[in-house]
Symmetry: C3
Subunit: 117 residues, 3 copies
């Protein structure tokens, strides 16, 4: 079985941000030369998510508001995890909603594209 | 590596519905002739989910109520995404809870079956 | 394609528990002799989850509290699913938040490790 692995490094100055890596994944797939199979795209950090959805600014704000409502950042003391000295207890919860990974089928050298609507 | 891909088209007149595609996936697997490996089943639409759980009417109603509670459909103005002219902002959020895809191990030509309980 | 499958059986006396199976998965991978590919780790029970996150006691308590807040166990009558005679309607919902499976890339015989932070 042919396999190809690449690490993408993203620096995010904000506490939360939405970054479209579709083009980077497509570039990676092209580099791999793989025509049929699956591409796994996962976060290597446990407070980050990889997911597939609409790259629309309003939706990103909706996600942000919603996640903050489901698992508020403050007060920090709300989470036992923060007793370790960290302040990102909320992010560990938010990550479970948004997911860690996506697996996408590759056919004829291209990943399946969603219908954006 | 052997691979096989099939698109299933489902018409859902209601705003939300639960459709059991287990048999269709098993048929697809049989058509493929694949005996060992993995089957990826994912939604090609960003407001739909593929997930594995009990095909029980009461549970489906529970999911429906719960998702509506976590991310209400109305008022439409609740979601910035709906400023684009769409009215499905809630569905983009609900989809994150229910997930986009499942990957199932295939052994001896059959997908792993869950214990239904 | 080389494949290897193993079932892990876990007995959990409590209603909910967090069990670290990382070492078991690494052992399984070593047994398989597979050097490059993917490992799928999924729950075979529809009220259990497999996920990757920090093995930190405070965080586990945070998850437990949060899941109970999002989908309370009691009153049992809260869920239509419990009309079947079961009392685990809440667990079917909680499982959707925490996810069913993870897929991890394997390189040079080792699974990708997350940065724990």
């Amino acid at each position: 079985m042919k396999s190809y692995r690449k690490e993408l490094w993203l620096n995010v100055p904000e506490r939360r941000a939405f970054i479209n890596i579709t083009q980077k994944v497509e570039d990676c797939l092209r580099e791999s030369g793989i025509r049929e199979g699956m591409v796994l795209v996962n976060s290597m950090h446990i407070t980050a998510s990889v997911f597939i959805n609409d790259d629309e600014r309003g939706l990103h704000q909706d996600y942000d508001d919603w996640l903050e409502q489901l698992a508020p950042h403050a007060p920090i003391s709300r989470y036992r995890h923060n007793l370790t000295g960290e302040d990102n207890g909320d992010a560990h919860l938010k990550r479970q909603i948004m997911g860690r990974e996506v697996v996408v089928a590759v056919s004829d050298g291209r990943p399946g594209r969603c219908r954006e609507e």
